[in-house]
Amino acid sequence: MNPAQLLLFAVGGLSNAAYLFIVAAGLSLVFGALRVINMAHGSLYMIAAFVTVVVAEKLGLAFGFWGALVAALILTGVVGAVIEIVVLRRVYREEHLVQLLGTYALTLIIAGLVRIVFGPNYRTMRPPAIFSGSLSVAGFRYSVYSFVMIAAAILIAAGVYLMLYRTALGRNIRAAVSDSELLSASGVNVARLFTVVFVIGACLAALGGVIVAPSQAVGSSMDTDVLVLAFAISVIGGLGSIIGSLVGSVIVGEVYSFGLENSYTNQFALAFVFIIMAAVLIVRPWGLFGTPEQ
C-alpha cells in the first residue's frame, strides 16, 4: 500500500469514526454521570436522523440541513428530558437489570413509533450545498462531506471537553460523579442536573443522527446498528471517558477500514472490533481511559 492509498483508507476510517464518536460520547457521558447504560441512545440517534431528512425535505436544500439540525436537537432534547423524568428517575435506585430493561423497552416503543410516524421505507437526503462535492488528493477522490464529519467530531469533542472543564455545569457534573449526595447537600438540584446531563447525551445522539443523515440511508434499523458499535467503542475507551470514546471510535473506524482493505483480515474486519473489545475487557476491564472500580 503506497502513502496515497494509506491516506485514502485512513480518512475513510476517520469518517466512520467521526459519527460513531459523537454517538458514543453521549452514551459515555450519560453513563459517567447517571450510571445508566442507555439502551435507547440509538433510538434518539434514529429519531434525529429521520427528523433531519423530513425537515430538510420540507425546507429545501439551501437551508434544510440547518433547520433540520435545530429541529432535531430540540425534538430529541425534549424526548430525552421526557425519558429521564418519566422513566429513568424511577429506576435510578433499582437494580441495573431494571434500568437496562427499562431503556430497552423504550427502544422497542420508539422503534414502533418511528415506523408509524415516518413509515418503514428508507429515506435519503443530500448534504447541504456548502458541504457537497469532492476533492482530489494524490490521484484519489475524497468526499468533502467526510471531512465535514471529521471536523464536526473534533469540534464536538472540544465542546464537550470545555463544557466539562470550563463551565459551572461541568463542575457540577464532575462533582455529581464523585458524590451526588454531597453535591445535593451543598444546595445543587441534582435531579435537575441529571435531567440536563441526559438531555446533553440525547443531543449528542441527535448530532450523530443529523450528521450521518446526508451520508447514509435513514431507516428503522439504524438504532441497533449504531448502538452496538457505540457500545463497543465505549467499552474499549472506557465507559464514562470522553477521551476514551474518541480513541475508541478511531480504533474501531480504522480497524474496520484497514481490516476490510487487507485480504487476510477482510473476512474478520467487523469481528476484529469485538475481539478488541473482548481483549480490553480481559486485560483492562475499565477500558483504555476509564477508571477502575474503587
Binding site: L8, G12, H96, L101, Y104, V177, F231, S241, I243, G290
Partner: protein
C-alpha cells in the same frame, strides 16, 4: 484525562446480553377481517419488516396481504377465508427460524412463503421439510437450496430466478462488453452473494473463454452481511483498483448506502467505474433521481419494464391501497400466493402433498406477463430476468427506469437438468466438499 466513571465494570455482561437481545428482536403483525367462510386458512410468512432487508419485507408483506384480500374477494380458497400471518424476522436467521416454528407449529399455517434472504431460507426450509409444509420461495434464490443434498426439501418450490440463472445471465451480459477486462467484485458474504458471484464469474468465463479477465483479490470480493453502513473501504478499494467495471449483488440498504456514498466521493463515480448490479424498484425508488444513469441492472420483476394488462391493474390497485409503486418483490410474492391458491383449489384441499402435486409440472400465469412452469426435479420455475441500463423516466416515475430493456426468457437461463443432477451428485466439487463447488468442475459445464 476526562473520566466520569465510578463503577464501570459491573454492567458490561448484562448490557452485552441486552444488546444481543435488541439485535435479535422484532415486532409482529397479522391481518383480520370479516368471516363469511367455512373458516380461516393462514399462509405464513416470516419476512424482514426490520433490519437490513426491511425495504423488501415491507413490500412483500403488503403484496401478500393484497393477494389474500383479492382471493377472499373471490370467495377465498376451497370456501375458506385466506389470512396472511406475517412475522418480522428482523433480517435475522435465528428469528426467522423461531418465527417459522411458531407459524407452522402454533399457528398451523397451510403453507409458507419464503423469507427475503437465502440465509433465512436455508434456516427455515428444513422446518418446512420436517413438518411437511409447502414452502414457496419468491425472493430468496440460492440454487443450493435445490441442489445441495442437505438442503433439498421436497416441499420447496421456487418461483424466483435462482442465483445460477441471475449470475450466469449477468456474466453473459458483461462478456459482451468488449472494453471490460478489469472487474471489481463486491458481494455480501453469505450463501446468496457467494452463490451468485460464483455463477457470474463462471457465466462470464464461459461466455468469453478468451476474455483473460483481471479481478480484484478474491478474498476481498465479499463484505460482511449485514454490513457497517459506511462503505468507504469498498469505495476506496475501487479507486485503488481502477476497474473497467464493478460487478455487485449487494442489495437493499447496502446498495443504497454504497451508491449514495460513492456519488459523494465523485459525482461521476459510476461513469468512471460503470457498474453491473442486481437491483429492484425499491432501490430505484429510495434513491429516486439520485440513482445514477447508465447503470447496468438486472432485475427480477420491474413493473415498468414488463407491463401487461394484468400487471398494470395490479400496479393500479397496489398504488391505490398503499400509495407506493410495487417492487419486484411485491410482484413475485403476489404470484407466490396465487400459485398456492390455484393449486390448493385444484387439489380441493390444503394438504401439502396434494397441493404440491398440483404445483410440480403445472403452469401458472404470472403478473410478469408470461406463463411459467414448475419443473420436476428442483421444482424451479422457468421465470425470466429483466436487464437494461438506467435512464430517465421522463417524469413518468419519481425514479429512473430501464432503457434498452431485454426480458430474458426463463427457459434460456434455467439451470440445465444435467448440471443440476451433477451438482446434486457432488460432481462439481473437490473432495466431496460442497464449499469447493465450481461449475467449471461439472462434466457438462466443460462439454
Amino acid at each position: 484525562m476526562i473520566s466520569l466513571v465510578r463503577k464501570p465494570t459491573g454492567w458490561l455482561v448484562l448490557a452485552t446480553a441486552a444488546l444481543l437481545v435488541a439485535a435479535a428482536c422484532g415486532g409482529t403483525s397479522s391481518t383480520t377481517g370479516t368471516t363469511t367462510f367455512k373458516g380461516v386458512k393462514k399462509i405464513g410468512i416470516s419476512t424482514a419488516i426490520s433490519g437490513q432487508s426491511a425495504l423488501y419485507g415491507h413490500a412483500i408483506s403488503q403484496a401478500v396481504n393484497l393477494a389474500a384480500d383479492d382471493l377472499n374477494a373471490k370467495g377465498g380458497v376451497n370456501g375458506y377465508k385466506i389470512q396472511a400471518d406475517i412475522q418480522d424476522d428482523g433480517t435475522d436467521v435465528n428469528k426467522a427460524v423461531q418465527n417459522t416454528q411458531q407459524l407452522i407449529l402454533q399457528d398451523n399455517v397451510a403453507a409458507m412463503i419464503g423469507p427475503v434472504t437465502s440465509a433465512q431460507c436455508t434456516g427455515t426450509s428444513p422446518i418446512s421439510r420436517q413438518n411437511k409444509v409447502l414452502f414457496i420461495a419468491a425472493t430468496c434464490n440460492s440454487y443450493q437450496l435445490t441442489t445441495e443434498p442437505d438442503l433439498i426439501n421436497p416441499y420447496y418450490v421456487s418461483i424466483v430466478p435462482n442465483t445460477f440463472m441471475e449470475g450466469t445471465s449477468a456474466g453473459a451480459l458483461v462478456a459482451k462488453l468488449s472494453s471490460v477486462k478489469k472487474i471489481f467484485i463486491v458481494s455480501p458474504r453469505y450463501i446468496f452473494g457467494i452463490s451468485e458471484t460464483n455463477a457470474f464469474v463462471a457465466g462470464l468465463k464461459k461466455a468469453n473463454p478468451s476474455g483473460n479477465y483481471e479481478f480484484n483479490d478474491q478474498s476481498k470480493w465479499y463484505v460482511p452481511f449485514p454490513t457497517n453502513p459506511n462503505w468507504s473501504s469498498t469505495i476506496n478499494d475501487i479507486q485503488a483498483f481502477k476497474p473497467d467495471l464493478v460487478y455487485s449483488n449487494i442489495f437493499a440498504a447496502d446498495q443504497i448506502n454504497f451508491v449514495k456514498q460513492a456519488l459523494q466521493v465523485d459525482p461521476n463515480f459510476f461513469k468512471t467505474y460503470p457498474m453491473t448490479t442486481l437491483s429492484s424498484v425499491d432501490e430505484l425508488n429510495t434513491l429516486g433521481s439520485s440513482y445514477p444513469a447508465g447503470m447496468h441492472l438486472y432485475m427480477r420483476a420491474p413493473f415498468f419494464a414488463i407491463g401487461n394488462s394484468r400487471l398494470d391493474d395490479f400496479v393500479k390497485r397496489y398504488r391505490a391501497r398503499y400509495n407506493e409503486y410495487p417492487s419486484d418483490w411485491a410482484v413475485m410474492d403476489y404470484d407466490a400466493v396465487q400459485v398456492w391458491a390455484k393449486a390448493a383449489a385444484a387439489a380441493g384441499t390444503f394438504d401439502s402433498d396434494k397441493v404440491l402435486k398440483q404445483i410440480v409440472g403445472k403452469s401458472f400465469q404470472s403478473l410478469r406477463g408470461y406463463t411459467f412452469t414448475i419443473r420436476p426435479g428442483d421444482q424451479q420455475a422457468n421465470v425470466g430476468e429483466t436487464v437494461g441500463t438506467t435512464g430517465d423516466s421522463a417524469g413518468k416515475y419519481p425514479f429512473p427506469v430501464l432503457t434498452g430493456v431485454t426480458n430474458l426468457k426463463g427457459d434460456d437461463i434455467l439451470m440445465p437438468t444435467t448440471l443440476m443432477n451433477e451438482l446434486r451428485d457432488g460432481k462439481c466439487e473437490k473432495g466431496g466438499d460442497p464449499k469447493t463447488t465450481d461449475f467449471a468442475l461439472c462434466p457438462s459445464w466443460k462439454a
